[in-house]
């Protein structure tokens, strides 16, 4: 059984098609990077699998079931750090606790605090537990988001441009944590990214989108020059990335 599956997905937003006839399957334990230019429909695809957008046509399934029937515990979501309101008065442990409770935790029991601290410890961020959100760097906040996304030990993880607003060291830490988690649990990861390097170095497969599915396969194959030209109109620094991957 595929972990996630899209069958002829199309999404119309207003008078334009955001996605057209997308079909693919991802097996359990895979790490798939989704790339494409701005407006390619990457975030729309994520929102379909989060259950926030209904496709105009086609079907999306997670572990063989429709998206809206998925138990929230099976899904871990890590958004962009820049979307968070840093002026909201909250501590890092409360943000992680919101993932545990699925509502805002005004106060937490001793048991809940232990679970939250353990989740933060798994991403090397237990020292951030009592820190205000506004005082976290981009990389630190990304770790806290990861702790929240992984707190229920999900089988499927969705990340929407998680490297945006995070420095290089923070990005490397995040990818290492994700790799370790995937190896440990055989979780499936779908990550929208503009970071071609991450796709070449960490993903088992890459998907190139530009409203339609341009290519999907091993990163070195899916990100061939002809596909990149089709999606972006240029090949950017993909050649160097492929060289580094071979090294």
């Amino acid at each position: 059984m595929s972990a996630i599956e899209a069958m002829h997905l199309s999404v119309r937003l207003g008078d334009r098609m955001a996605l057209e006839d997308i079909s693919f399957q991802v097996d359990e334990g895979e790490f798939v990077a989704v790339l494409g230019p701005n407006g390619a429909g990457k975030t729309t695809l994520v929102k379909i699998f989060l259950g926030l957008i209904f496709p105009s046509q086609g079907v999306a399934r997670i572990f063989g079931d429709s998206v809206n029937r998925l138990s929230p515990e099976w899904l871990g979501y890590v958004p962009q750090v820049k979307t968070l309101d840093r002026h909201f008065p909250a501590l890092a442990m409360e943000l992680v606790g919101s993932g545990l409770r699925r509502c805002w935790p005004g106060w937490m029991s001793g048991e809940e605090k232990k679970t939250v601290i353990a989740a933060l410890a798994r991403v090397g961020a237990e020292h951030l537990a009592e820190r205000a959100l506004g005082r976290l760097s981009g990389g630190e906040l990304q770790r806290v988001y990861l702790a929240r996304g992984l707190i229920h030990r999900p089988r499927f993880i969705l990340l929407d441009e998680p490297a945006t607003g995070v420095d290089v060291a923070g990005q490397q830490d995040m990818y290492r944590i994700l790799e370790d988690y995937r190896k440990e649990t055989q979780a499936t990861i779908l990550m929208v990214t503009h970071d071609w390097g991450a796709a070449f170095h960490h993903a088992t497969r890459a998907m190139l989108l530009n409203r339609r599915l341009i290519s999907m396969g091993r990163p070195s194959e899916a990100l061939e020059d002809e596909f990149l030209r089709c999606a972006f109109g240029h090949v950017g620094h993909a050649h160097e990335m492929r060289m580094v991957r071979h090294d």
Partner: protein
């Protein structure tokens, strides 16, 4: 203080002020964190349309103003969802439409125009027993919906995450908007436009300067809203100045003081 409470009108003012102040300062934390500081003024002025309609229909203005303002609050929430306009722009549009409707309604019954405007500038010192019961009802509503605090807070910080976690975010938004609308329209009659708008913003904004957590912000806002009524009424009695203005000035002074202190720290 005991001397002040010897007057029955002051007892009623204190009780109604505390009830309305606590409830509005509680909702204020969501108003402030969602960047809807203009909502209090918007809904209070929208109530003018409802009051005018009530006068036109020869009905008790409050019972017409409540559904009218509820409809405006639902309209504001709906328009926010449907458009990319800023929330204050949406509130401004609905405020203008409601006021215009009010003017049209009153133009059909000119002699009662003063009643509608007077309704908007209710005085805390002329609280009746009915007003007190209404304030108690508002307090009861806020208490009954206290379990929704965590869901509202979660959606205030991270609306998308709350939706991913399958919380009924849109429905919760409508409930919150309706509760704020009912509070505003009922409180306008009791404490007036300026004071209810102040209760919805200043205590929450002041507590935001001190609080490290949203729970602390909520508790401080409620305590601050209540305390401002006590000190404001006492100040108005001793200095012989208008009560509503005195309460707002107490809130404003605390906010400015905290702003200075917190900035220096």
């Amino acid at each position: 203080m005991i001397e002040i409470l010897a007057h029955s009108f002051m007892q009623r003012a204190l009780a109604a002020g505390l009830l309305v102040g606590i409830v509005a300062s509680y909702y204020g934390v969501f108003v402030v964190q969602r960047g809807m500081g203009f909502l209090g003024h918007g809904l209070a002025h929208a109530a003018f349309g409802g009051v005018a309609l009530g006068i036109l229909l020869n009905a008790e203005p409050l019972w017409v103003a409540i559904p009218f303002t509820l409809a405006v609050a639902i309209g504001i929430t709906w328009a926010r969802e449907r458009s990319r306009l800023g929330v204050d722009s949406v509130i401004g549009i609905f405020l203008a439409i409601s006021m215009a409707l009010g003017v049209v309604f009153l133009s059909l019954k000119r002699s009662y125009a003063a009643d509608a405007f007077g309704y908007l500038f209710g005085s805390i010192l002329s609280v009746t027993t009915t007003d007190l019961l209404i304030a108690l009802l508002l307090f009861g509503l806020a208490l009954a919906t206290l379990p929704m605090w965590g869901r509202w807070a979660y959606a205030t910080l991270d609306r998308e995450a709350a939706m991913v976690d399958r919380l009924p975010v849109a429905r919760d938004d409508y409930v919150l908007s309706c509760l704020i609308a009912v509070t505003v329209v009922a409180a306008v009659k009791i404490v007036g436009v300026l004071l209810i708008a102040a209760f919805l913003v200043i205590p929450a904004a002041a507590s935001r300067l001190l609080a490290r957590s949203f729970l602390a912000m909520t508790v401080l806002s409620v305590l601050g809203g209540g305390a401002s009524v006590v000190f404001g009424l006492a100040g108005s009695y001793w200095l012989d100045i208008p009560s509503g203005a005195a309460i707002i000035l107490v809130q404003g002074a605390v906010f400015l003081l905290l702003l200075g202190v917190v900035r220096r720290a």
